[in-house]
């Protein structure tokens, strides 16, 4: 049986080739295609530009791209943000030479205004890709001009290529080639991959130090010019489940992945930290000793929320690719019942330690046909539905309780000490529903 098996009753208008991923799990997946109510990869800039404090993101796109960034960020950022859009106009579309020259002009104006920028990302968009504007060439040309003061890289955040968090994936993948090569004779080093809130990153670094892993790098680094070294001695561990391309780029440079659950909840965080520690030959007793306090704190804090969430039925609409590990956490540690777990893209290899936790009763879906998916929500009547901002109020208007998915990307939710905060994000809408009398 191929892994593209479709459930009965749902139109099979699209079946992906079964060969594009290893068949590690032959659970049926409902694959759908149609209108997708998700952001494009440009949206990742909203958190990436805060994470990398010396980097600037220049989207080469249309007014729509600029409007998206502004709307997704809310017009709430007071400082001048470290992103902007080079809006293509009619005359840029006329001839390609012009577009490249125009881009040079915009970049030089920008770098004049912001001498603090050390890395500039030229970010491709739907229109720049459709007209085949070669941003790699532009980055090379401009890089030759501005190095060493400014490094210029490019990646795509276009909606025709990337969904929401995949924009971080393509961005990090663009950083991999410029990571310095590590000494082949050097000791094994650990690389944490995926942007984490600074506070969470610091917690993990403290825990790894306590475990006895001393050589730990993070990608993306807070300072984009201070990238960790990379080579055959690198063992990397994914902190986010949406980093398929980055992982491939790392493997191509000799790094090997540490397979683990994702660090959500007490269980996931324990597994994630322990897997890395084992890779570095740390003994089990020491691992258990170091992880016990954090795990106990997490379990204690989660116990208070279990009463509110246990037995509640939840549906995830596709958004950030965080859906599978989050659903596992809510099911295993809070006793929630999974109705449908939708994800924009199911990376079976990276989720190999997550998916076996789901029973056959859980409907796993990939891609989206939003109308049919909403029909299923109406039929399933879950207690809470996790969805994007475009759908949340309309579903509330129909009487459904919802949780905005985007908050899961913008809040510190990884690790032991955030496990209860993560559960709280799901408990609060339910508590609010019960509390309001109007």
């Amino acid at each position: 049986m191929s892994d593209a098996t479709l459930l009965d009753g749902c139109s099979a208008d699209y079946v992906a080739p079964a060969t594009d991923r290893p068949a590690r799990d032959d659970r049926p997946v409902l694959r759908e295609r149609g209108q997708r109510e998700v952001f494009c990869g440009l949206t990742g800039i909203i958190w990436l530009h805060r994470k990398m404090q010396d980097a600037f993101f220049l989207v080469v796109g249309s007014r729509t791209c600029a409007h998206l960034l502004q709307s997704a960020a809310g017009v709430m950022i007071f400082a001048e943000p470290r992103f902007a859009t080079a809006i293509m106009e009619e005359r840029d579309l006329a001839g390609m030479a012009d577009a490249q020259e125009e881009l040079d002009r915009v970049v030089s104006r920008l770098l004049e205004r912001r001498p603090d920028i050390k890395t500039l990302f030229l970010v491709g968009s739907c229109p720049s890709e459709v007209i085949k504007l070669d941003l790699a060439k532009a980055a090379q040309r401009l890089g030759a001009q501005y190095m060493p003061r400014v490094r210029i890289l490019n990646y795509t955040g276009s909606g025709i290529e990337t969904t929401f968090t995949q924009g971080e994936d393509t961005c990090l993948a663009a950083l991999v080639p410029v990571m310095p090569a590590s000494d082949p004779q050097a000791d094994k080093q650990l690389l944490i991959v995926g942007s984490l809130p600074d506070i969470v990153e610091d917690q993990f670094l403290r825990l790894f130090a306590e475990l006895g892993i001393t050589n730990v790098g993070v990608l993306p680094a807070r300072n984009s010019r201070d990238l960790p070294s990379l080579g055959a001695n690198t063992r990397y561990i994914l902190a986010q489940p949406f980093l398929g391309e980055t992982a491939m780029a790392l493997e191509n440079r000799g790094a090997r992945r540490v397979e683990a659950m994702f660090p959500f909840g007490a269980e996931g965080t324990t597994d994630w930290l322990a897997a890395a520690a084992r890779e570095f030959g740390i003994d089990e007793a020491h691992i258990a000793r170091v992880l016990a306090p954090g795990r106990e704190r997490a379990n204690k804090a989660l116990a208070k929320l279990r009463g509110e969430l246990a037995g509640k039925r939840i549906t995830f609409l596709p958004d950030s690719q965080l859906e599978v590990p989050l659903a596992r956490f809510l099911q295993n540690e809070l006793g929630m019942e999974l109705v449908e777990v939708g994800t924009p893209y199911l990376h079976r290899a990276h989720l190999a330690r997550e998916l076996p936790h789901f029973s056959d009763a859980v409907r796993l879906s990939e891609g989206q046909h939003v109308e049919r998916q909403l029909d299923r929500v109406r039929a399933d009547k879950p207690d809470i539905t996790v969805c994007g901002l475009g759908l949340a109020n309309p579903l509330e208007g129909e009487g459904f309780t919802t949780k905005w998915a985007i908050e899961l990307v913008f809040s510190p939710i990884h690790g032991f000490d955030q496990a209860a905060d993560l559960a709280e994000l799901f408990a609060r809408p339910l508590r609010r529903r019960d509390r309001l009398e109007v």
Binding site: Q35, T64, F78, A84, E89, L110, P127, G159, L391
Partner: protein, 523 residues
């Protein structure tokens, strides 16, 4: 290519969405890649709508390009019509789909759909949101209006008006409409149709039954109203009733077209703004320098109110929508300022900084600029923010709108007596002017607050560490004196003094120079 951090307007297809979302029984099939659905959240989050906008996005991907994007469009259109059963659909392309040239209009026509399909040509790389809204509304009216309709004779019935312009995601459109209806009610005029807000395609068909049109927002409805004027000989009222004076002119214009007596509407006893403005406590408003920027209609109305109804001085006026620049130029001439026509918010920021206003009236963008500069600000125009959709009734139009405007604009200012106290007791550390207006903790400029409090007990005079004045030009004594001037006029005083010193050929600004300049520039 234009470098933009923030934009005043979205792309034109967002304008089309504002029309579609305002209407009932209409569906928009938009040829667009994944990600363009972000626009839904403008309506569901900013405006807090409880329904999805009636828009189907085709959601094509890179691998579809050059293969079957046209088929994807037709499938999406067929499915949307089957599911939503609309009376009519509008079809078009977003910026990316425009490049692949699938011709959604032609494709829809070829499908033989059971409802009219109106094709929209919205050039994304030339035009913007307001233009897209106006063009969409015009195309809808032109396609759906029943041109065979013959208006009943005027005798023996009430006059009938169409109210044109209110859309989804409009700045106070919901509440303005209530005020316009109130005025028409008072004049005993029947509302034939409100559009696009709340109108269905079937309603649009009888648009020709009205005797005249009221163009609430020229940015949206002007184009359609000109076609209606030609096609159905419907004259239009284009006076925008924002402010007391404009509301009076509007009532007079409407009454004339309807053959009605304007007296009952003009005598609205809830119009408090004129007396509030004449009340002696408002004396301190006289000559306050105000910088105005927004869409042309709101900016022009604001300038007139500022000058004639609050006694302010307009020190800057501009708009971001080039299409209506002429109106701004005319009003700027009346104000005696250079008009600022730009959609680059950095240029606007420079202009505000240079003008040293005491109040900024602008969009959410200017609110940020004002916040950075520590200036009081009130929002008068789109682009909108969730705060621009208050739960309470809060119009801009009509006499009630003028009441609201008085409160909204005066509220951020430091009040009359407080202003005097700040001037008199500049060195009271708990009363430092950096605290801003005492009733406005949330809006007051925060800068230097900590420094002011911590330094005050040590020295009577605030340490001259603040780089307000250029040390090389200003003597320490003059610089200290400059800091005694309240912050809301300090920038102006500094600039004037420096200009005065330059004109007099002085290389040093002494205490005396400051007062010489004050006398020189005395109003």
């Amino acid at each position: 290519m234009q470098l933009a951090v923030w934009t005043y307007e979205g792309p034109p297809h967002v304008g089309a969405m504002r029309i579609a979302t305002a209407m009932k029984g209409l569906h928009y099939v938009l040829h667009a890649p994944q990600g363009d659905t972000y626009a839904d959240l403008l309506f569901t989050m900013i405006e807090r709508r409880g329904q999805r906008p009636p828009v189907t996005y085709t959601t094509f991907e890179a691998r579809d390009l050059g293969k079957d994007t046209a088929q994807i469009f037709q499938d999406a259109a067929r499915e949307a019509v089957a599911r939503y059963n609309p009376q009519a659909i509008i079809v078009g392309a977003s910026c990316t789909a425009e490049l692949i040239q699938d011709d959604p209009g032609g494709l829809a026509e070829a499908m033989g759909l059971p409802c009219p399909a109106i094709a929209l040509e919205l050039p994304s790389y030339q035009r913007k949101e307001h233009w897209g809204a106006a063009e969409t509304f015009y195309q809808i009216v032109r396609h759906l209006a029943d041109k065979s309709l013959v208006r009943e004779p005027r005798e023996g019935r009430r006059a009938r008006a169409n109210i044109l312009g209110p859309t989804a995601l409009g700045f106070r459109h919901r509440d303005d409409l209530v005020e316009i209806r109130k005025i028409l009610d008072c004049l005993d005029i029947e509302v034939n149709l409100v559009a696009p807000l709340g109108a269905s395609p079937a309603d649009i068909a009888r648009i020709g039954a009205a005797d005249f049109n009221i163009v609430m927002y020229p940015e949206i409805a002007d184009e359609a109203s000109r076609w209606l004027e030609k096609t159905f000989s419907q004259p239009a009222v284009r006076t925008v009733p924002i402010g007391v004076g404009a509301t009076r002119s509007f009532i007079a214009d409407v009454a004339e077209l309807a053959g009605a007596d304007p007296t009952p509407a003009l005598g609205d006893t809830s119009s408090r703004m004129p007396w509030w403005s004449r009340s002696v406590d408002s004396t301190y408003l006289t000559g306050k320098r105000v910088f105005i920027f927004g869409d042309a209609t709101h900016a022009v109305a604001a300038a007139r109110i500022a000058r004639e109804e609050l006694g302010f001085e307009v020190c800057g006026l501009g708009c971001y929508n080039r299409e209506f620049a002429r109106d701004i130029r005319a009003e700027a001439a009346r104000c005696g300022v250079e008009p600022l026509i730009t959609d680059d918010h950095l240029t606007v920021e420079d202009a505000i900084t240079a003008a040293c206003p005491e109040l900024v009236l602008g969009t959410q963008m200017e609110r940020h600029i004002a916040k950075r500069l520590g200036l009081p600000c009130a929002v008068i125009s789109a682009p909108v923010h969730v705060q621009d959709f208050p739960a309470r009734h809060s119009p801009q139009m009509g006499f009630e709108g003028a009441n609201v405007i008085f409160d909204t604009w005066v509220h951020p200012l430091v009040m009359g007596l407080e202003e005097h106290l700040l001037t008199m007791f500049r060195e009271d550390f708990e009363f430092a002017d950096e605290h801003g207006a005492s009733h406005l903790a949330a809006h007051s400029p925060k800068a230097a607050k900590v420094a002011a409090v911590s330094e005050a007990p040590v020295a009577d005079i605030p340490a001259p560490a603040v780089a307000e004045a250029d040390g090389s030009l200003w003597t320490a004594e003059a610089e200290r004196e400059l800091k005694k001037i309240p912050f809301f006029v300090r920038g102006k005083a500094k600039r004037n003094t420096e200009a005065f010193a330059a004109a007099e050929g002085l290389t040093r600004i002494e205490l005396e120079t400051l007062y010489d300049a004050k006398a020189h520039y005395a109003r």
